[in-house]
């Protein structure tokens, strides 16, 4: 499948901003079942500096700064991406989850050693006793990793309500767990917390999801949104992508932007500015088959 992704982030300020420095994770990365064919990032007003490099996780990152007074910042990204249907192993064929834990807790192989960085606490994710208790029922001794992980994904999808006003980007996982509400980012963070509390390696994936319009209605431009899910590390099979928001394995409808330890490593746009008064943020995402 080929997709054209357009992602526009607009900040509007009540007062002038003389200077801001920003970082964006808006370029879809390549991986085993995805290739980014074209990418274009535009910033308005014209940035004084726009640079690109590769971060620690291999994601493409843009740095840009605006040094003339402005009251609005628009970051527009346009990507053409080719995504294949990923091949997942049969869940029952994956190794027992304890073996996956052993692989990252005492890594012998280089892939497990690299994966082990996703087994520890990170700025947004701390291992939790409560998350461990929540996860336990899905992880009886010897259960194949993917089977157990999918069971946990399904439980999160059914126990938690999708509620865009219940949480914000900084809501701690404890609170999400208590409220049983949140958005995709919260569910991804929650499942990562559960998996890491069990001793497994799990990483956060930032991206998009192709959505269908309600039956009989035309698809609205900008009606999509950025999405988040997670991957769990499985010896012999590598990273397996789980989407707890939609209770499924990530498929060819999932377009990956970047991955990291948590949201903070790969947040689509962040910045530090001076002045500006109040600001409002609006995001429009459009994913269309190309």
């Amino acid at each position: 499948m080929k997709y054209l992704v357009q992602h526009t982030t607009t900040y509007t300020y009540s007062e002038t901003v003389p200077l801001c420095h920003n970082q964006a994770h808006l370029t879809p990365r390549d991986h085993s079942w995805q290739r980014c064919l074209e990418h274009d990032l535009r910033v308005a007003p014209e940035p004084a500096l726009l640079e690109e490099w590769s971060d620690y996780f291999g994601n493409r990152v843009h740095f840009f700064s605006l040094e003339l007074p402005h009251q609005r910042l628009i970051v527009h990204s346009r990507s053409l991406v080719e995504v294949e249907e990923p091949a997942y192993p049969p869940a029952a064929a994956t190794p027992g989850w304890e073996e996956a834990r052993r692989a990252v807790q005492d890594p012998q192989q280089s892939d497990a050693r690299i994966a082990s960085q996703f087994a520890f606490d990170s700025p947004y994710i701390h291992r939790l006793e409560t998350a461990l208790s929540y996860a336990r029922p899905s992880f009886p001794p010897g259960r194949p990793l993917l089977e157990a992980a999918l069971d946990l994904t399904a439980r999160i999808a059914s126990d938690f309500r999708y509620d865009p006003v219940a949480t914000c980007v900084n809501t701690p996982t404890e609170e999400v767990l208590a409220k049983r509400r949140g958005v995709c980012q919260d569910f991804a963070h929650l499942q990562i917390t559960c998996l890491r509390s069990l001793g497994l390696a799990a990483r956060y994936v930032s991206g998009y999801l192709l959505t269908d319009p309600p039956p009989g209605q035309p698809k609205l431009i900008g009606a999509d949104a950025s999405h988040a899910w997670l991957s769990v590390f499985c010896p012999s099979f590598g990273w397996l992508d789980l989407d707890p928001t939609n209770n499924q394995l990530a498929k060819a409808r999932h377009v990956t932007l970047a991955w990291g330890r948590d949201y903070g490593d790969v947040c689509p746009v962040k910045g530090v500015l001076i002045g500006g008064g109040h600001h409002t943020l609006s995001v429009a995402v459009d994913v269309t088959p190309a």
Partner: protein, 854 residues
Amino acid sequence: MSTPGTADVIANGSLFSTYAPPQGAYDEVVTADGSFRPQWRQFAAALESLGPQGLGQRWEQARRMLRENGVTYNVHAAPRGTDRPWELDPLPLLLERSEWTSLADAVVQRVSLLNQLVTDLYGPQTLVSSGVLPASFLYANRGFLLPCHRTRVPQDLYLHLYAGHLARGADGKWVVLADRTQGPTGAGYAVENRIVISRTLPNDFHELHVERLAPFFIALRDTLLSLSHRNRDNPRVVLLSPGPRSATYFEDSYLARYLGYTLVEGGDLTVRGGKVFLKTLGGLVPVDVILRRIHDLDSDPLELRAESSIGVPGLVQAVRDRQVVVANALGSGILEAPALLAFLPAICRHLRSEDLRLPSALTWWCGRAEDLRYVEQHLERLIIRPAFLYRSSLPILGWRLNQEERERVLAEIREQPELYVAQAPVIRSTAPVVSGSSLQPWHVGLRVFACASQGGYRIMPGGLSRVSESAEKFGESMSAGQGSKDVWVLSDTPVESVSLLKTASAAVEVRRSPFDLPSRVADNLFWLGRHVERAESIVRHLRSALVRMTTDVAPGGLRELKLLISALSEPGESKFDAVDYVQEDLLDELSQEIRDFLFSENRPGGFYQTLTSLHGTAGIVRDRISVDSWRIINQLDLDILLPSPLARQRLGDVSLLLNQMLNLLSAFSGLATESMTRGLGWRFLDMGRRIERALNTLTIAGRVLTREHPEMTSLLEAVLEIADSSMTYRYRYLTTLQLAPVLDLLLVDETNPRAVGYQLAALAEHMRGLPGDSTEPMRTPEQRVVLAAQSMLRLTDVEGLCTADAFGVRTHLVRFLEQLSAHLWHLSDTLTQTYLMHTANSRQLGLPSPVAWS
């Protein structure tokens, strides 16, 4: 080792005869059999000839010097009030040349190793892939800065300045307890200690051939100069401080001045077009090298820790693009992780194919299963510390825990073992500390410093010794029962006879363009000028009232006194406005009011608060003030000049105090006039003074002279005194005191340095020296304000101002004074807006949240 019976043995009745170091620890001075260690023989004999009293005097002298130099350590990291004086023992720690040489070599090996290690961690990570260092060391460690991975640093040099915290164990061998690699502190205190001790014990210092410290700093400076990516001939180096709230701000400003660097805070720097600039009054000035004293994670709120308010947004990108060099390089903090100590011997063999020469304290990292088992079995003998964030919590002393507490601690460790290390305690050596007239054995820590130099490392011959009364309280920071010592490395031959101070001033090589003054500094100098002038005006006012009080007060004089003292407060806010006191009560009340205004901490706008503000602003800009001026500011302290509460009750003593204060304030002004270069710093200091002086004169005139009063003559005399213009008046008009000539002298006369007109003329002159667009034909807003005030003064009819209305109020004068004040306040605001406005603090953009679902 000497045998008993020789001259090395401590004689009865001598200074050291009652010195009894505890059993089980190594003593730096006395051996187990009671004789002096070799390096101490000559020095001990010299001390003996001083005697206990002489030593006591030296001690006092050292303390006074430190206090006058304002050497402090900010314990609770708050502005004024919590600065502790730096405690320095007059007896240095003496180290023999041969011992020092081998210690120095071992330190150099260790720092070289640490630099190789950090270069590997931020590069190929062979230590991790070969299994020498577990991957979890990196990944469980917040100190590993992901954004700095694969960022190349010039000359592969991460560590430019290093400090090692050492202790000498019972076996006499030095071990490292901690490595300091981000913005190591203490080198500045070492210099300050050296200056004080070499003056306290000058003869011994020369006779014992003590190695000098200055060449070390010259080497550091040369290294920093060599780093710049561009501008190799004249790179600009700044010292980035966390600011006045940091514990070691004294040292930051001291080092900046010593090395000749501009002292800056994060807010003074800005990244534009990927380059780092210093915000100065004259505009943005490029910065090539940053010697930082802030932690890794605080350095850039964009890429490191968003919550940091002391960093520079965009700094990591500027480093990545090789536009600026940060020393020590960002990321170096990972070397401070105590967990690393457990791996250093193996890492040394892996990276250098040799053994680690300077051992660390025995360390077990609970992230390793076998280490955890050991800790579980021996907790009662171990100290538990955080494995990564060294300062985040106090160490747990295993032997202090009962069974239940031990279980709780172990349970906590088992939950996330990689976050803890255990260390075996080191029984620190002892050394004598002067306490009254006797010597007490205190425990010793030694901080050594190394700097990168010509492809290798160079060690400071000496260092900073910390001493503590109790071994267990040997904390990270200064607190009660803690002190410091100078460290003398004794050379066999006379050292090069350069005076330390001469060398020190040679190290200072200031290359500042005239407009190269950080806006923040200009702001603080401006307010320092205002506070100094305000303090002087209060002192004159109080003194004038006090003089009238201590002479016989006539009935009419009492009314005058009441008015004069009421004039200290805002109109309508003095308690003497309404109440009618009988004469005797009134005198008591008035003198109480003077004391209150002078000493009360809670009196808004009172003298105490004015002094507090003065010290606060002076502390922030102390690297811009000469050492002598700083000494004066330190003496401007009520608790030093008149500490006794009883004496504060006596008007005579208070009067004396006021005279002392006035002398000190005049001395400060004199130094500013005579010794400050006529740069922008001086201009802003002086503008502050001028504006404040003019405002004070207008205020006192407004409060005292705007109503008809039966004791007018006497009031005029008082106002002339307060405005320091009595002599001029007498000289000019002999003794006839009349309102109109007084007003002319205090307001209009541009030749009287105390007159408002004179201040305006001086301000107008300053405006011409401020940076601005010289091609702009129009006057600047601040020039227009000054001109308006000047015209108003010059055109005024002084006689007309003196007429009073039917109620005895001089309404013309009231309005005139108010308008002039308004002009001056406006000027102060305009200056602030144009030159001093701090750009608002930076903050985070709102983060977009992914919300998709289907």
